[in-house]
Symmetry: C2
Subunit: 222 residues, 2 copies
């Protein structure tokens, strides 16, 4: 551990930008793409429940279909080496009393029965009271937040090995989810589309990064 320097890390953060056009002639090596997805897999999530699913869309016809309503994705669908859909579990999976949560605590987290029961109680209070996740929409948005953790890690990890990315919210959610249902065999009653995420190699140099200064976004209480 501890062999990566702060400068190397910051260089990756400066290298990363929302890449508008990718070089179509450059393809990400399969093991690099698997490495990127592995950083999503190892990402943390609330209660550890991993409310995510990623679909890597390489098929050209499906990429064409995905253009419908996705005004921010069209050029990336045409030029990205790899194109990821970030799906988020809906209440079917992630409501406190769902079979998935039960399965997950027992089969993935290997919690003993009593510990699982306790955890479910805490999770119920968390959803119903602490975070007020009492509608399909608020529950989805909460799970979606976890998926943005995985998104961030994929982009950062990619940048560290010289791969560009573009996070995309430029789509009409309803239209895009209809496309997923109709052409990609995704049950949109169970999953919603949180984001699209394109990977590849830049064609052009990026514009300068614009950010507020650190003292504008951080306050200290000492």
């Amino acid at each position: 551990m501890n062999m990566i320097t702060k400068n190397e890390i910051l260089n990756a953060f400066k290298f990363r930008h929302a890449c508008k056009v990718f070089d179509k002639t450059k393809v990400i090596a399969k093991n690099d793409m698997e490495f990127i997805l592995e950083t999503a897999r190892l990402s943390p999530s609330s209660f550890g429940f991993e409310p995510w699913y990623f679909v890597v869309v390489q098929n050209k016809e499906l990429r064409e279909k995905l253009k419908k309503g996705a005004w921010g994705a069209t050029i990336k669908l045409d030029t990205a080496s790899h194109f990821v859909l970030g799906l988020t579990m809906r209440d079917f999976f992630i409501k406190y009393d769902s079979p998935y949560i039960q399965y997950f605590m027992s089969q993935i987290q290997h919690l003993p029965e009593e510990a699982a029961l306790n955890r479910r109680k805490i999770f119920k209070t968390f959803q119903k009271k602490d975070f007020d996740l009492n509608t399909e929409r608020t529950l989805f948005d909460w799970a979606s937040k976890q998926c943005y953790i995985a998104m961030a890690n994929m982009m950062t990890a990619a940048a560290m090995i010289g791969i560009d990315s573009c996070p995309i919210e430029g789509f009409n959610k309803k239209t895009s989810e209809e496309v997923l249902q109709k052409y990609l065999d995704i049950d949109i009653k169970k999953y919603g589309l949180s984001y699209m995420l394109a990977f590849g190699y830049r064609l052009n140099p990026p514009k300068d990064k614009t950010r507020r200064q650190l003292n504008e976004i951080v306050g200290w209480k000492e």
Copy 2:
């Protein structure tokens, strides 16, 4: 660029875990903490609008106050070297027609007037139609998702230099926000609390990481 190996990166992802108890005797160096916050600053966000604010709470009395209703934070408030509140801008700032968005496009993103007008139009459609962000709650949750990107990057960057962290949703949102208003001078009509995030050095070895396998979370359309 490209001097960090995949193995080094994956080691950091394996090193990172939700640290339950920190070693109270170990303090994060000021420049390491600033480095961590800098990775938040350089994080991407939807439309680049950075809807975040981070408060680093080092004052012991304020940490005591923060314990109220924050069942998942008490031990971390006692033992973490640095304790961050992840605040998210509410509609006051991030609704498409807010003065902040206007200011941001002109003063931070340096958009010419016409480009800013066009962008505002797109942003309006995005909020009102594409993503259906038509209530205070949905707008907040959308902005909050962006703040989870910054959270992920802070945790990953910290792990890469051997610093532990713990992301915390274990609090009653209403109670905690009342504490922020009352004792931390935070205007909760303008900011909401998305998460708490503790940093420090682990006291104990972590439990084994539990995750589904890659083929359970990724599908390919080729």
